[in-house]
Amino acid sequence: MRKILLGLSSLIAGVMIFYLFQPQVAVAEDFQQPIAFSHKTHASDNKVPCEFCHIYARRSNSSGIPPLVTCNQCHSVIKGTKDDQKKEIKKIEEYWNKKQPVPWKKIHDLPDFVHFSHKRHVQAGFDCTECHGEISNLDVITMDDMKADLSMGWCVDCHKKEHITSGDKVIGQVRETRGGPVVQNAPQPKQDGTLQGSKDCYICHK
């Protein structure tokens, strides 16, 4: 009886582990983007603010991936300086001529049962980097570069915190622009209150 049960449980375990190696699990190569877009070149070297492209972050739940027309508006003029830049920028032109959108791959991916509002967090004064990290320093973003794992525990931890505010806006490091470089020795605004996220499950679970 004991042998049978142990055998059976190992068998179940075996079957489960077999499923583990099925191709549904994402691996690093899967995140290769169709165009080698560099956040560093845009946001850091050329100081393009985050919300210049991600225009919906302030007014919607979704920050939005820039539509191809946004890329094309600049890159119909800016063709790149280095060879590899020229090669990648040419791809935009190709997509545009084919009238096809770019099939980007999602790195910061929340589960489908989660409701997350960019608008609410941006309007409360949080900076993009608080969740996404210093994206502007990265050429290629992978899962490993994510500042936060976007797990529920991480969300709840932050929602438990009493965030210090000034004029109803959360105080953080002073930056040149949202998501941009930190201004050193900037004067800190005066604290006048705190802000805490809701702990109702229905705030995020939909």
Partner: protein, 1043 residues
Amino acid sequence: MSKGMKRRDFFKVAATSGAAVAVVGCTEDPVEKIIPMLVPPSDYVPAVSIHFATTCQECAANCGLIIRTREGRAIKAEGNPEHPLSGGGICAIGQSSLQGMYSPSRAKSPATQNDGSSSLIGWDKGLGILSEKLEATKAKKGKVLYIGPARSGSINKLIDRFVKGLGSAKYLRFDSSPTNSIKQANQITFNKNEIPDYQLEKAKTLISFGADFLESWVYPVKLTKSYTEMHAFKHGVKGKYYHVSPHMSLTGSNADEWVSCPSGGEAIIALGIANQLLGKSKISGSEKKALRDYLEEFSAEQVASQTGVRTSKLEELAKEFGKNGKSIAIAGGNTAGADATQLQVAVNILNYVAGNIGQTIVFGADYRIGGDSTEEIVQALKDAGKYDIVFIENVNPAYALPQDSGVVEALKGAPFVVSLSTERDETSALAHLHLPTSHYFESWGDSTPRNGVFGLQQPVMAKLPMFSTKEIGDLILLAGSSAGLSGFDADNYQEYLKEQWQAVQKKMGDRSAFQTFWTDSLKKGGQYRDFSSDKVSFSTKALKQKVKSSLSVNGMTLLAVNTTLHHSNGAAANRSWLMEVPHPITQIVWDSWVEIHPKTAVKLGIKHGDLVEVKTPKGSLELAAYFYYGIEENTLVVPAGMGRSVPFPTYKSSHGKSIITPVIETKSDLRVEGFKVGENAAGVLPFKTDAQSGDLVFTSGGVSIKPLGKKAYLVTMDGQFKDDIEALEADTLGLMGDRSQKGRGFVQTTTMGNMLGHSEEKAHGHHLRHRLYTMDRKDNTDFYDPREEDVAYHAEWAGKKKPKYYDPYKWEMSIDLDRCTGCSACVVACYAENNIPVVGKDRNAVGREMSWLRIERYIEKNEETGTPEIYYTPEMCNQCGNAGCEPVCPVYATYHNEDGINAMIYNRCVGTRYCSNNCVYKQRKYNWRSYEFPSPLHLQLNPAMTVREMGVMEKCNFCYSRIREMKDIAKDQGRVVADSEIKTACQQTCNAKAITFGNIMDKQSQVNKIVSTTKRGYKQLEEVNFKPSITYLKKVKHNNRKA
């Protein structure tokens, strides 16, 4: 532990399998793509709903719609509150229009068809073939036939010009609903060939002679609204409604009294009442004399002997109806039978005698309901062989007409049939060339359902990419210009429509710039104004109509009826929501049935649920027998509009039963193949039309029924299981069981006398007579603390910060059962809003339906009259303040949220189902499988709601996604949500305005006012003290005879 296993072994087993499960549970999702738009429209914002006003084309009533879109996809259809006909609500079929657009059985691309084989050819080739044919026809001035749907818009003019330009042509509009008899009778009686405005709200008494005005008769959405205005209890007043028909339909079940009469007896009764009223009538002189002569033979005694309606009942009807123009009689619909026009004339005479014309029946509106005479259409189709081209656009005569009509054979013999239908249906299968048109959600159009209403229909989204289609307007313009006709040079149909609307602007007397007018019309869904009423006078010509005062009976009579979910045109019969939602009276899903009187059935040796053969003179059907007292003893009723033979998802499990391991169903397992649901009742009727109007007759005499000695696979959702049949109150006749409330008092009633303070509360005690326990605590205190105090106590005790409850919101609902008609539009709306899966017949049979909202139906017997009384109540999660489900959840997947909602966190749920066991209202539904939304139906899914998977519990959450959306908008504007800003999906679609929803903490809110001031509020199963958030308002009866 038992002998065979030691404790340590148990842990080993548990540990290894547990680890394995844990590992599998944490596999990552595959990489998702995030594809932005190429060039977004200027007002586009992702994750924000955008609403478009358009017009419903499911029937010719053309209600106004507001379509909610997300990321460019239509996800929900709602009524347009500004539209004078729909006024905010829509019907069940209108709700399901989304499934029409995302239908898996839509035609993919143009195709040529030859002897059953079809090949996809693409538009270039398809249009090439068409223009070749058109040029040839034009050259020889050939004959053209165009059959289109019944509608009233600019497209009619365009099509007319198109077909007439080709040669000698006929353009006919097909609608199987019998409405021409109304126009014809008004022509005879009042010299006015129109469908008038029936202003039920002005009447105190309503008599319907078989007209199912809450379901399908002329413009049901508007009539439901005005009916509730008249009939729902308000300020101490409530109208009376009698239904005179051989069949107590859903509409009839709402009546204060159903008067059973044999099929064809309606006209006799109408004239019998007129006869009684004539004495007191204001009509005078020769007219009165002529009427007296005419009505002479319809004395109470004569009518009683012919129809079996007692003279005392006739006198009562006459007394109630004589209200000096404050009453209304209507008639018609599928039960009208072969002499539909005569019945209409009889009812016109009755209304005229009662002085209702110009009072409650107002001419001048000219409703464009219904198509051309069916007789004429069938004649034209039979001559299909003589036409060079036959166009058939989005109508399905091959399905909707009786097989006996010979239309299918005629179409097979036609030289060239072009189908312009959106779906691949029975008629397009007979076409030589199929050029699929876009769904109306993807097309431009307009409509004029009555004088003064100009509805505009705009595309609410881009054309679905998987279907290569063209808008009907564009297609006609293309065809016209390729045939070299003049007047077809508009760039596209939108431009053409704008030209046409310049005339509308003039008619409306609008002087702004056209672009302003156009944008305004698009926003409002059209332009609306009142119609000017026309005076009509009685024409004694009507008295030449001889209504037979005696009935000849030949065998049994079969009625093929429309319901709120099934329409004889069959367009809605392949929409899974309408199959899955139980028919309000029978509670049958995924099937058609035959309703039979138990006494008749027992005489013929038929038991409830038996498979029976119904034989008409022209065919036979195998159906399940459904025992129903709401039917005349010599009549059988079968729902029309089912039995389509088009492919749509089967929703059948592909696995057998497995004993050891649970069955895991993946996407690849699910079959999507053609199968037939129910039987086409109209198909076996002998083809007959009303001689005067050409209306199709949906009744057949000479019908027989016999048992086939087998049980049918009949699935009813009213919980009629074996135990019920042995219940105390069970009707043992033919084992039909107990359909009553079994004393549980879900639907409570009160009387007019009680409401006005004249009599004691009798009804209440009656309903609760079976209760074993009540909540009569002497000191009137509660066993439990209020939730806020309770939570505050525990938080303090644990040293935590106190959470805020019910500040500023606590969502509550009130449901007025005196208004609810049971139409089930709310149920369909709930399916659409909340991504509720359709599970199919097999799973419904084992009680695994997923509906969050159900219309519960109870049938009780009127002790005095012996007729059945039907009660409906919408049942959904009560969001209890002291819920049974919450404390038993071992993983806190369900909890009480700050707004008073019993929140359900799906990914936290482990599926113990304790909550469901502990819910007294049985409102929790468990996902036994991961259900499939077959492509492209998945595109309709609401992104604001999770699509649930196998193993989790779910239930109504008061449309929390809508609450969240509105709270979000309010927060942006720095305010709290105002009253009636949030409407739940069920409330939004309700034509009867039975549901009120809002914040009970707001003293000014509508729901607070109702709940705090009503004298007829009650909570269901109040004695278990779950503190439900839904307050039901008792149904008000005129007297206490009921139940």
